[in-house]
Each structure stands twice: as structure tokens, then as C-alpha cells.
Amino acid sequence: MIKASLEKRKKITKLSQLPQGASCRAGVLVDKNAGWRNKCPVFDPDKCIGCHQCYMYCPDGVISKKGKKIQIDYDFCKGCGICEKICKTGAIYMEEER
């Protein structure tokens, strides 16, 4: 599966470490979208019927299919609450963050 992935941010100390031009390898992440969430989606696998509507509609693509169910990448979930509303079976609900 192709997906941008987290790497350690390199400290730039020398010019030669920088690209010439304004280009860069695609799909490189160095920061989690941490601290964005007030509320956090909680997944209840028992209620999930695997319709994957939440997967389709998550703007951040942090819900992935896991067999017939799903899983959420909390490193990049922003807590928007769309998945909760989309899920017809109540298998996702939002909780206060922390």
C-alpha cells in the first residue's frame, strides 16, 4: 500500500543537505498532526458491520480497512467527527480527548 509515511526530521546543518530547486521526495512526513483533536473517535468493533463508509468519508484517510473491519491512525486523525456521523451502526463515537 502506498501512503505518505513518517520519518525522523533531519536536522539541516549543511547546505549540501538541501535539495537544489524547490523539490523534494514525495510522501515524506516528519510531523504527526498532533494536538489537533479535542475529541477522539473510538471504534467499537462489535458494532461494526464493515460497510466501510467511514473509510470512504474520512477526509484525512486515517481510517483503513482491516479485514471486514477498520482501524484508525490516531497519529493523523483530527477528531473531526465525520466518521461518527457516517457510521450508521454507532460503531464509532467521539470522546473527549485524553
Binding site: A4, R25, A26, G27, D31, P59, D60, K78, G79, C80
Partner: protein, 291 residues
């Protein structure tokens, strides 16, 4: 049709951003051999911040007015390099498409260069802080059409982008909404099969600019279709096709009142919006019913 890959990930869009959903799904349909260009706007601003690159496919930011031209350049360049089996994709906001980008878009369609142009329409210049664009709807307050007491915010109607594009005799054009994501995905797939230029105008609510909760994006994106304020249609072979002809429209008032950008509107303004909607439906009554 939709791949498991995520080509748009870890971006810095606001929570619940409709535009980012459109981008994500388009790329999931088109896949990794997609050469993407986007002009300035939220979808580039949130995803190319060195060293954080959220696109996993090839992507290049265009000057704001240049999306259509960069697409032609990518196409010609790809041909020159002998590439095969790829898509040229342009994704731009409503401002970047209907206002400053329309010259290049018009040129692209006129040349009929193969490529898919997707306009995600959040109905204002969002990246710069919610200014009126040519696609801002009647009645919306924006920072350049502020609803001060006694005014109605923006008094202009949305530019009829879809029909303007279709009038070019484009190979394929469609409207869509992120609220009906399968429909949008199917249209992206169709666009990718067309020889020549294709265009999709997808409505993509912006919680920040519209004054809705981040969780409401999809509901609102469905409601705008269900109320008839936005229609789902296609244009191909020189003809218009309507994808949905609702028997009954849902309540416009509900759609309007839930959004902060419309909260100053009075009942008579909502009636005006309904009148304008009905006029549009009169006009498009001649559209074919879609496949």
C-alpha cells in the same frame, strides 16, 4: 475502482475539510501514475511544507493562474519523454478555477489536451481567509462581502462554471458533491477514460469558511444536493445529462440556517434563494436524464 493506497495523507487541512476528501478520493481512483498539479489554495498550502510532503504521487504546485497551462505542459512533457499509461490531473479551488485560473482552463479545454481538471468548490478563497470568489453563493457572508446589519453578504450568484466549461464543447464535464462520494469517484473514473480534456466541479464544504461543525461536512454536502441548490449532472457527446432529478426538494431553510455564513439571512432572502434555485431547475429541465 478505489485503491487502498492513500496518496494524500498527513496534510494540514482543517479537521472535516471537504476539499481534502475530494482530493483524497480522486487520487484513490486515479492511482500512483498520476501527475498532479495544483495552484495556490488550501489543497496545496496544507501539503507541500518542506520537509513534510503529503502527496505520495508526483505533484507540482502551479502559479495561481496557471493550472490549465501546467497540465498541458505536463502532458507534452510526458509525451516527449515517451511515457505511457498515466494521468494528468489538475486540482484547483473555486477561486483558482473560476476567477484567476479561467484563462488557462479555457485554453486547456480549447487545445483538448488530455487531462482531468477537478475544481473543488468551497465557495470562497479559503486559504487566504474566506474572501468572495466567483463561486460564492448568493447571501454568503465573506470577509470581502461582509454581512453588516441591513446587508445580505454576497449579492451575486455563483458563476455557472459547469455550463461555461461545457459550452467549450469539452469531451467530458460533470458536477458532483463530496456528500455523494461514490458518484464523485465514478465520475473521476469516467473522466479518466475520456480522450481529451475532462472537468469535474465538486462541491466541497469547508467547516471553517461555512461556519459549520467539522463533523457536518458530509451532511451539508448531501443537503445542498437534496435541496436542489446544487445539481448533479454530466456533459458528454455534446449533451447535458442530469444524474438526479429529485421529486421533492428538502428544506432550503434548514440548509441555510445551519451555516454560520448565512446566519444573517432573513426569510425573504431564503425565499429569494429558492426562487433562484427554481429558475435554475427550469433552465436545466431540458437536460437529458443520465445513463
Amino acid at each position: 475502482m478505489i485503491r487502498d493506497d492513500e496518496f494524500f495523507y498527513g496534510h494540514k487541512a482543517c479537521g472535516g475539510c471537504g476539499g481534502s476528501l475530494a482530493v483524497r478520493i480522486a487520487l484513490k481512483v486515479l492511482g500512483e501514475r498520476t501527475l498532479l498539479t495544483l495552484p495556490a489554495g488550501c489543497m496545496s498550502a496544507v501539503s507541500f511544507n518542506y520537509p513534510q510532503m503529503s502527496y505520495a504521487n508526483n505533484a507540482i504546485i502551479s502559479a495561481f493562474a496557471g493550472t490549465g497551462a501546467v497540465m498541458s505542459g505536463l502532458k507534452a512533457g510526458a509525451e516527449a519523454m515517451g511515457l505511457k499509461d498515466y494521468h494528468v490531473l489538475g486540482i484547483a479551488g473555486d477561486g483558482g478555477t473560476a476567477d484567476i485560473g479561467i484563462q488557462a482552463l479555457s485554453g486547456l479545454i480549447d487545445r483538448n489536451d488530455e487531462g482531468i481538471y477537478i475544481c473543488y468548490d468551497n465557495e470562497a478563497y479559503m486559504n487566504t481567509g474566506i474572501q468572495k470568489s466567483g463561486l460564492t453563493p448568493f447571501g454568503a457572508t465573506t470577509t470581502t462581502t461582509p454581512a453588516v446589519p441591513g446587508s445580505r453578504g454576497n449579492i451575486k450568484q455563483k458563476k455557472n462554471l459547469f455550463e461555461i466549461v461545457a459550452a467549450h464543447g469539452i469531451a467530458y464535464a460533470a458536477t458532483a458533491s463530496v456528500g455523494y462520494i461514490e458518484d464523485f469517484a465514478a465520475k473521476v473514473a469516467r473522466a479518466s477514460e475520456v480522450k481529451g480534456t475532462s472537468f469535474i466541479h465538486v462541491l466541497a464544504p469547508c467547516p471553517t469558511g461555512w461556519g459549520i461543525d467539522t463533523s457536518e461536512t458530509i451532511e451539508v454536502a448531501r443537503e445542498v444536493v437534496d435541496t436542489g441548490l446544487w445539481y448533479l449532472a454530466e456533459y458528454y457527446d455534446g449533451e447535458y445529462h442530469l444524474n438526479r432529478r429529485p421529486k421533492e426538494f428538502k428544506d432550503v431553510g434548514h440548509y441555510i440556517r445551519r451555516q454560520g455564513r448565512f446566519k444573517h439571512l432573513k426569510d425573504e432572502d431564503i425565499n429569494e434563494i429558492i426562487r433562484l434555485r427554481d429558475k435554475t431547475w427550469d433552465r436545466i429541465s431540458g437536460f437529458n436524464t443520465a445513463r
